[in-house]
Symmetry: T
Subunit: 146 residues, 12 copies
């Protein structure tokens, strides 16, 4: 059977729906999980869905994904802009990794224009709220080679 898609979420995304709704919308992280599961199911895959405020957890989960996932959707949030550790972890993952954002970082403050994740990812989907996740899951499913 096909391996699952890992959908990994970084700091502050646990508050989705409460955090600056004019930027991030009113959906909660559970809504995001449901949308991801639905799209993955249409490609015959399940989803492993996690969130942490700790950079180290994201690093460890990416390491775990190396053998257990068919593809990865990563919304590293703030850590995407500053974490060389995530960049290095991505370099070890030969699966397709999709850099995913609810909002469009290029249209926000300049310190959000650089991304260590995008530098090492297969591609980027950003700016469409929950739809970003759905499209990213589709990309991960179709590019998965397991």
């Amino acid at each position: 059977m096909s391996k699952p898609i890992y959908v990994l979420n970084g700091p502050n995304l646990n508050l989705l729906g409460e955090r600056e709704p004019e930027i991030y919308g009113s959906s909660t992280l559970d809504d995001v999980r449901a949308a991801c599961e639905a799209r993955a199911a249409s490609f015959g895959r399940e989803v492993v869905f996690r969130q942490s405020n700790h950079e180290g957890d994201l690093v460890s989960w990416l390491q775990e994904a190396r053998s257990k996932a068919g593809g990865v959707v990563l919304n590293a949030a703030a850590y995407g802009h500053t974490s060389v550790a995530l960049h290095d972890a991505l370099k070890m993952v030969s699966l397709p990794v999709i850099d995913c954002h609810l909002s469009n970082p290029d249209a926000r403050e300049s310190f959000r224009h650089h991304s260590y994740v995008a530098l090492a990812a297969k591609g980027v989907v950003s700016g469409f709220g929950v739809i970003s996740y759905e499209l990213a899951v589709e990309a991960a499913c179709r590019l998965a080679a397991d």
Copy 2:
């Protein structure tokens, strides 16, 4: 009836399939057009599909899209990195505009990391070859408000 999605392509994309295939893949621009039409059709929309090597043509087409399109998928290619004129044209378009790329510019030379298009677009899809266009068309269809 729903308005069409404008899919606008910038310089050198007419040579798709011949140009640096290790970066851009072997699909041709006709393959891209077909994929866009299929995805749009599943949302009940048609596609207006164009390519030009002239920055001014892209500006004019974006102006035209203001009244005639339901959404825009724009792969401005090289002009995305340098064109303030496209940026200004996008500012006048109240439709959802999706910044779309075959490859992932963030993983290439540093002069491809800045994008005047992304700065003014709704969101970004990049790095998945023809799949980028399909996902971008879906985003445009679902975000269209006509």
Copy 3:
């Protein structure tokens, strides 16, 4: 008889009145033309008034102005910030060229603070909407030496 003043307009100015009215005001490009003609007439001159979205057209019109115009009012819009080609064309024009803007670029995004046109122009008038053009036309008429 005195030569006319060339009033040359760059990309997106054809949509004047529709484009971001909180920045550019509600006057149309025809309003601008009429105001320019009136002010020029008070100095016994006519106006040649053009607009294009193509950088190359502006270059060619500046070349044409070398022998046919008494002075030039140039609102290069977005191309003013990026076009070395316009800068080079201006260097060949010995007439007074006035860099003209509806809004004040220095009070907007930082990528609008640099101008290759201002670098090579006689002077600048910006920030007063249609009045900018009127004052620029007066400057061109009074500084013309034909």
Copy 4:
């Protein structure tokens, strides 16, 4: 009854009194706690006082403070200079947050001159050793709106 003031301390502050005393003074973190409690008491409030070397802990505690605190005094120490995650967490906190430092970072190495915390905080108190905390607690108490 009034909600408490959260006083949150970042990496290495657990060694206060031992660490570079010529910069940070000889008071310990317990001395700081006592001083905070005294000042808060004079405004009828209690103090929740914590320290962690983990960026993620500080993020989670700021999230917790959203509903449980009347105000926050945050000495993020080294993380203040590098953490976009803390910045994002602060953006979600509608309480007054005071950026607090024992020493004056502007008078030290240049990599301490930028602060992602200050960018999102209500205000700053720095440079006075333990007194910095006392004044920051007062500011938090007086600006609290619960």
Copy 5:
């Protein structure tokens, strides 16, 4: 009756006519005053005309203009490039303020390309010698709302 236009001149402009005439021309500051008065008169206004080498004087005069002037023409000369104090004073003035220069700073040394005054002004007129002042006075008169 209409309020006067304040025409305020910064450092070294008292030597106009003597200072680098190849850049600034041979007109004196009295010539400038006369030209300003003539143009203002055609709009039914008088002119208050001053010069100082002290940054603080310019700040104070701008404060005074808040209640007494219909508009301001400010040639801050060298202080325009370095004075945040003038910038702050301009922010408090709700009248139209015109940033005015005899020469075109964009065509000179790079340290003249930045202007704290332009950042906060309504618009800019530069490069036409005495004519710059005349056009700036017209702009101030027509934009005045008293």
Copy 6:
């Protein structure tokens, strides 16, 4: 008897209450003076309270404070960002000098992020309106060694 605290205010602060109230609040400079005097009195000290739009006056007053003050609260306003002269004057003052601001400069335009005053001051209090002054006066009183 203890020496007074010098509270020195820079350009445009004389208009406090009128100037951009959404940033600076509605208190006047007289309100600030009263609040400073009250807090100083609780430490048995008086206040010498002055304002000038001239950088040179602030330099001279700092020189005077060397022998006559017990501590200094300095809100240099705009000059704090540009004045090496104030920096040098501070270097000669062995008293505690507190860099004080009504608003939080780090949360405003980037040209307000650098401070020559903070570089040479004992510490910083910013962002709390009039309360900033009160806390700064307390810091000055408690750190004074006369």
Copy 7:
């Protein structure tokens, strides 16, 4: 028979001989064409010689050269400094492309020191007026592999 050498000229070169003769000399573009034809003839090749003020035309001609030329001499003039589109077009051309200039851009303004064309070209010949073209044509002929 051998394929021709494409000699492509960018904006403002149509005015050669009239434009800033102290920099570009008094030869006209027809003189340049004749010199190119003579040198190419000595290597048994013909020349296809074109000029345009439009960036898009140069892109299209480079695309055409891919199958029809033995080598390319490109004087992109101003577009060489700003055009990523030309850079991308060059990347698709497997022929030898020579970056050619009448003057020496490195000895002029700093914005002429960067070249997107040189980044992707086989080599550079600059600074010798018409002789630059002759040498560039020789290089193209000798390096051509058809």
Copy 8:
């Protein structure tokens, strides 16, 4: 008896041998541990050997080393480039700390050229694979002063 040498390893080093072997070689972290123990033994010391993906753990272990170690070999991996917190922790350690790397960061991407660890360390050994650790352990042993 002599205190042990702490050998502390940062993020992703747990995957040594699997991660980009063309850069990091095929040795595992257990191989590294064995080599460190052998070299330390030749100087009569033991090794405390740890790895974590969490920045905060490395900070805490450095704090622990202050009293328990004779010297420290620190391969902070990605955190070395971004962690001011590690820098601050190092500042509190009066033992010799050796900044150690398997590969040579100066020969890789530019974001690996800056090191907050090197800034505060006694010295650097990099580029020799497992041999780097052996030499670093020797340096720590010989420079230890307990």
Copy 9:
């Protein structure tokens, strides 16, 4: 008779001898004046010696020197690093102006490495305490052309 040498001193130099003696030495400004007079006398000239904390005063004195001085020794102190106004005033002075410093600014903080005065001065003497003034006065006397 020969015109005098103007020796003009900027902010904080009135405290010479008290200000950071490890940098500026223990001589007072009166000592400097005496040394200048002695050296000038040996060239048959007198000295006009002044000090001000106001940038505007230095500008006005430089203007006065244009007709009354044979040469100028200017120690603008802090204003030398920030004052475009002084730079502009110097540009109007055709006399030899010597940029003079007690200490060597190039060996101090980086914000002292740039000098708007040096940019427009005849030459520089710095680093020798009072001797700097003596040598600068000699240079002014010998280069004076009146």
Copy 10:
């Protein structure tokens, strides 16, 4: 009789043919000398051909060339990027000096994009291996004025 062309070669060029042949080709410096002599002979000139690893030797040879050479071909290799001394020497040479490279520095590492030699040379030929020298010798011969 005509003066010779000096062909001067900088550091590491003595190893030509052995050094990174994928960049520099397999020709030796003797091959280069022969090609230069042949081309010079066709213009009736001889060649003085030298190589040194010492920057000072290149400076001295350029000084010697002032009276003895008809033109200079200079491949300063690495010193071209760093040597102000060569720049100054070139400024004293009124002969045509051609900056010559085997490879195209603009297509290599960014620290090879700046050239102090190109800044002061008549023109540049780069990227064609031995052919670069031949073309440079021709340029030197045709531009020589002796």
Copy 11:
């Protein structure tokens, strides 16, 4: 028999022991030579030990090492920060080259943080005084492949 290790020393190292002993220690260059010989001997190799103040000598010695050495220890001192010529010479050496320093350049002035040598070397050992050389010699011996 095994080839020797070349230990090459750059400018000012001949004064070792006299030069800033608080940074470089009191050992002389002869002490360094002895320590290198001892460590090399334990690996069955001899040492060729040289010093020069001339950049060109270091370039030539590196060229010589290509055929005669088993490995190279290079302390280029000041030239390491500025010499592209050394960088190029290193690129031609297929032996292991160790970049070696007595002190830790990363902990000193910022102009010592960049190294053209480290960019092209196998690895780095710095900061341990004479011990740096010993460890570097060991690395060279163990990595040598002759």
Copy 12:
């Protein structure tokens, strides 16, 4: 008897009088020597006067000066802007070293504004032609402590 003053001259100064006389004047290096000897004699000292185009020679001469000179006047010419090696040599010289220039580098190209020599020198004299040397020799004599 007093030790001599070393006057050391860098690259291209051997051509003084021939090199760009509009910048450097028409005096020869022998004239400079004579002027130095005269001024030194008035302080009872002799002069050791040398010139070299080799950076290494200047380094070695500075080393020699440590024991044999009473002071040093160094005109490093172009090497002053690029040579860390000279900077390091200066750091070892406890004598007064005067950084001396014929012209004023701050008034020339921006790459002449930085000086590694000034950073480590006692002081600077520049801009007065031969007089610069005379004043520098006086400074060296008066500050010499032997």
